[in-house]
């Protein structure tokens, strides 16, 4: 009994230290964001200033930057369009791969498999010209097309899910005179709703947080996303940690909110997306 309690205590201490390590950098950044320029120098970075001196001016500064709004808008557009096509193509591709036999199927499946394996950062060297050649450079089309075409995690989640649906459903629908398309739209797609929810949430987090593709393909000011806005803001605020800290916190908020609300789906989805056959 004593042994059991002591192991419980050790476990709690380990987990609590983990929480401290996870939270410390975020909380200390928040402290900085709540300080005036003068207090940044005079108070310890580990402490908030006296209660009366806590300021929200840094947040006001960031929020009044017109590019933040533009960043929100662009990120929003990219998010909605990419996720829409990801879900549409993901569900139907997974459905066909799981349920149909056709000539060239092996080839198609292995193409998609290769698509998952190729490292993203370095392929941009070659992808860059394709994007430029199609006139997508410096348009919102560039990130959208890349997120839809090359991030294929959803295929695994959908395939796993579809393989769990009974084939007799398909047969019954077809016998009742349903077309293949009707079968997919009316029966399969609605059944995939839980998987779709997971895919949407995980994609949303990846897209909101992505820095590389917007940075590379959309240098134009008006095409700032949340992340590239922050990079720009950091360059402009050099040395002014309190305002930059406020910017950091604001950029963190959207995905943290999504995470807190949907963590069950996120944790399940991440696990499902990782385990490939």
């Amino acid at each position: 009994m004593v042994k059991r309690i002591s192991t419980q205590i050790v476990k709690q201490i380990l987990c609590a230290s983990m929480v401290v390590i996870v939270m410390a950098p975020i909380i200390l950044t928040l402290f900085a964001a709540l300080k005036t320029k003068a207090d940044m120098v005079t108070t310890s970075p580990l402490l908030l200033p006296e209660w009366g001196r806590v300021t929200f001016d840094n947040f006001k500064d960031v929020l009044s930057d017109k590019y933040l709004l533009i960043g929100f808008k662009n990120t929003g557009i990219i998010l909605m369009v990419s996720i829409f096509f990801n879900v549409m193509f993901g569900t139907i591709t997974a459905f066909i791969i799981e349920r149909f036999e056709f000539r060239g199927k092996k080839l198609v499946v292995s193409l998609f498999f290769i698509g998952m394996l190729i490292p993203t950062f370095v392929t941009e060297i070659a992808r860059f010209q394709v994007i430029q050649g199609l006139g997508l450079y410096n348009t919102l089309g560039a990130p959208i097309v890349i997120y839809v075409a090359s991030d294929l995690m959803q295929l695994y989640i959908y395939r796993q899910f579809i393989s769990g649906l009974s084939v007799s459903l398909d047969e019954a629908a077809l016998i009742d005179g349903c077309s293949y398309f009707g079968l997919f739209v009316k029966i399969i797609f609605p059944l995939l709703a839980p998987a779709t929810a997971t895919v949407c949430i995980i994609k949303a987090i990846n897209i909101i947080n992505d820095m590389y593709i917007p940075y590379l393909y959309m240098p134009k000011n008006k095409l700032r996303t949340l992340t590239t806005f922050l990079m720009d803001y950091a360059n402009a605020q050099l040395g002014s940690w309190q305002t930059l800290a406020a910017g950091i916190i604001i950029i963190m908020i959207p995905t943290i909110v999504i995470y807190v609300f949907f963590q069950r789906y996120i944790l399940a989805g991440v696990a499902a997306g990782a385990v490939k056959e």
Binding site: V22, L46, G115, F121, V122, A126, Y180, V270, A271
Partner: protein, 297 residues
């Protein structure tokens, strides 16, 4: 019957045509093009380029800064590799009976969810030499003598960045291990407990073998991840000072987009892909033989 087959075929083709075209244009062609470009001296904008055979491959092997960058990747790899044991430990603790396990589970994955660029700047502040929080922590613990220029001392900067990377990505592995652990059938563990197995034996003989597939995946992910480290050094130090915190991917991207040497950059990209596969195969062989040997005893 043949009418039905025709309908089937029609459906398959209309449904797959767009996704497959997208995949070919934006993934397959670029990947193939990488190989082609690795044998040219293309500069990224000229219409013409010459085939230069293995010149790029040779100059890549002779490039000292690139080797230094690769050594930096190795630091990420080793540190994350040793962290896997810790991650596995946390996963076991969190799947077992534990008060507030749900809260800890939420926390452990938090760093992975938040914006990488925001994280990078937050750590720039954390390790900053003026009013930096980390130096203040050391001060509070009376460890002032340890204070260094965390982000500008070439000897340590790469270790500091590796730590940031561990902070950011370890939770991901914990969650993967937890998912795998939960999928182990309960009755096996119960039976072992009845037979008198202690926690360590349970871990070694039931839990670890039971999640071998996931261990494989995490090991692979570690190779892939540490060879592709990019945004943390890019945002925090831009690879500096000098090449002290540069990484292979960072160097490759710079070679292409800053120095307009797409030929050489493609060669490096091909090298990354080959290294990923190569290290994975070797690591797999070693790890599996270790575990199998243990079991035979």
């Amino acid at each position: 019957m043949s009418k039905l087959r025709k309908k089937r075929m029609q459906f398959v083709i209309t449904a797959l045509v767009v996704p497959v075209i997208l995949l070919i244009v934006f993934v397959v062609i670029p990947a193939a093009d990488l190989f082609r470009m690795s044998f040219t001296n293309w500069d990224g904008y000229s219409k013409e380029s010459d085939i230069v055979g293995f010149t790029n491959y040779i100059s890549m092997l002779k490039n000292k800064d690139l080797w230094l960058s690769l050594k930096n990747n190795a630091v990420y790899f080793v540190i994350h590799f040793f962290m896997i044991a810790v991650e596995l430990g946390f996963a076991v603790i969190l799947t077992g009976r534990l008060r507030a396990a749900k809260f800890y589970k939420t926390m452990v994955f938090m760093p992975y969810i938040i914006n990488g660029v925001a994280v990078s700047y937050a750590f720039s502040y954390f390790f900053s030499p003026i009013n930096g929080a980390f130096d203040a922590v050391l001060g509070a613990l009376n460890l002032e003598f340890l204070i260094r220029n965390w982000l500008s001392d070439p000897k340590i900067v790469n270790y500091v960045l590796s730590f940031v990377s561990v902070w950011r990505f370890s939770g991901y592995h914990v969650i993967l291990f937890m998912a795998a652990l939960q999928s182990i059938p309960q009755d096996v563990a119960e039976a072992a407990k009845v037979d008198g197995a202690n926690a360590w034996q349970l871990f070694k003989y039931i839990q670890v073998p039971g999640i071998m597939l996931m261990v494989d995946f995490v090991l692979f992910d570690n190779i892939r991840g540490s060879l592709q480290v990019f945004d943390i050094p890019f945002v925090i130090t831009a690879g500096g000072p000098g090449y002290a915190s540069s990484t292979f991917t960072l160097y490759t991207i710079k070679t292409a987009f800053t120095y307009s040497n797409f030929g050489l950059a493609s060669t490096m990209a091909v090298a990354i892909m080959i290294m990923i596969v190569f290290i994975y195969v070797i690591q797999n062989k070693i790890i599996h033989s270790l575990i199998l040997r243990d079991r035979r005893k």
